[in-house]
């Protein structure tokens, strides 16, 4: 930034500082409104309680008492928040000259200082940062002047990774203490807020840089020890590349817990690509999962198929075969029980005799003989 730009930016910063001063009072108003609304809620519930009691509605009374208890528990927090705002010392808005001095010292402290007019953001770029051997890259610290006026209830700045090296677990975490471009200030929170309130821009940016160049192993979004590595496609567990398996179909990395081994061919597949034998429920690769029972078309592994049939269909087939055999045995004809009709005749004992029970002849007719109803034997 040249001196002309410095003056322009200094003017914008001074305006933002004025808005910030007003913003503190606006935030006090807002918190006061929330606080007094609690009393309105209590007054309303008091009336409800009175009405419930007048009708001897004890259940309704109990419900109302619980609501009142809820309002009362929120009051201390509302008081505390309001009090902390009221207790803050009123900050003088720095002079234009002081702000210009701040910008000059910022230029001396950081190699890359710029004002993004489109976004209304004063930006500095850090040197490349490595923490405990893990390379994280450079970061842009962008202070949005309009947002700085709303410091008391919104974040005024963002930390943007210029050449991101996010953790394998979550690409939004570009630094152990930065998630979604927001820095978790930790021990630096109070000092950062004071620096912004007083317009000490160089102090603000150097404090943010100090947080970025320090690793707190007790409270990171993602620990540096888990930073690199491969993330399991199925469960998200981050593992060393050497410990990972790879699905033979989709080539995604999977951990040993999520890997599936095909029971027929031994291929390793992920949970998404694996099929399942519907009989024994063991895993199958997509190729082996095409084997099906020819009866019911269930997916089966080789060991669950017999003659191409699953156990149920095989049993069914055997039952049908037995029934068919039974039916065939019952349909065969019986020779010992066939009916024979005696005709009588010369060779019969006592000459020719007509069997009275078979005859239907007219006694006076000539040339007629009894004809049996049985089969004619030749």
């Amino acid at each position: 930034m040249n001196d002309k730009e410095l003056m322009h930016v200094a003017n914008l910063i001074q305006e933002a500082m004025l808005q910030l001063r007003k913003g503190r009072y606006l935030e006090c108003m807002r918190q006061l409104g929330l606080f007094t609304s609690r009393f309105s809620d209590l007054a309303r519930d008091a009336r409800k309680l009175g009405m419930a009691l007048s009708h001897d509605w004890l259940v309704a009374s109990e419900h109302t008492c619980k609501a009142i208890s809820g309002h009362l528990t929120e009051i201390p927090y509302a008081v505390s928040k309001l009090q902390s705002l009221l207790d803050r010392r009123p900050r003088e808005v720095p002079s234009l000259c002081a702000i210009v001095d701040e910008l000059r010292s910022l230029r001396d402290e950081f190699d890359d200082v710029a004002f993004n007019a489109e976004e209304g953001a004063l930006c500095v770029v850090t040197d490349p940062i490595s923490l405990e051997g893990v390379y994280l890259g450079r970061f842009r610290i962008a202070l949005y002047l309009e947002k700085s006026a709303e410091l008391y209830h919104k974040t005024a700045y963002y930390v943007i990774a210029i050449d991101p090296h996010p953790t394998a677990k979550d690409e939004a975490v570009t630094h152990p203490h930065v998630s979604n471009e927001m820095l978790c200030e930790g021990d630096g929170a109070a000092a950062i807020r004071a620096a912004l309130e007083e317009g000490r821009l160089c102090d603000f940016f150097t404090l943010v840089r100090s947080i970025l160049t320090t690793y707190n192993p007790d409270s990171p979004y993602v620990a540096l020890s888990d930073w690199e590595g491969v993330s399991c496609y199925d469960c998200g567990y981050v593992m060393d590349e050497e410990s990972s398996y790879y699905c033979s179909l989709c080539d995604n990395a999977i951990c040993d817990q999520c890997s599936r081994v095909c029971v027929d061919c031994g291929e390793v597949v992920c949970g998404s690509c694996a099929g399942l034998c519907e009989i024994c429920e063991r895993s199958l690769c997509p190729t082996c999962a095409k084997t099906t029972c020819i009866g019911c078309e269930s997916v089966c592994c080789d060991s669950c198929l017999t003659d191409g049939l699953c156990p149920e269909c095989k049993q069914q087939q055997e039952n049908e075969d037995e029934e068919h055999e039974d039916e065939q045995t019952n349909e065969k004809p019986e020779t010992d029980g066939a009916q024979t009709i005696r005709l009588g005749g010369r060779l019969a004992r006592g000459g020719i005799q007509a069997q009275a029970d078979h005859t239907a002849v007219q006694p006076d007719s000539v040339g007629q003989a009894a004809v049996s109803s049985g089969p004619i034997r030749g």
Binding site: D108, G186, A190, A194, D203, L207, T214
Partner: protein, 73 residues
């Protein structure tokens, strides 16, 4: 003599302090930050880096900013 002391370690308060004449910035640091190491801080006087034996002047603005600040999640 009176100095404006901005301690960005902790609350980040800016206050006027009285110090003896002829005090160097190194002596001032040891007085205000007992047990701490100077190399763990950015020490600026009137927004400029100064040598450790710089003699402080009336109304100088001394800023101490820690280089190691632990963030969180």
């Amino acid at each position: 003599m009176k100095l404006l002391f901005i301690n960005n370690d902790g609350g980040g308060f800016a206050d006027y302090v009285q110090v003896s004449d002829g005090m160097t910035v190194e002596q001032f640091f040891k007085q205000e930050m007992p047990g701490r190491k100077a190399e763990d801080y950015l020490i600026r006087v009137n927004r400029q880096p100064v040598p450790r034996d710089y003699v402080l002047q009336e109304n100088d603005r001394v800023t101490l900013t820690p280089t190691k600040v632990e963030g969180a999640q």
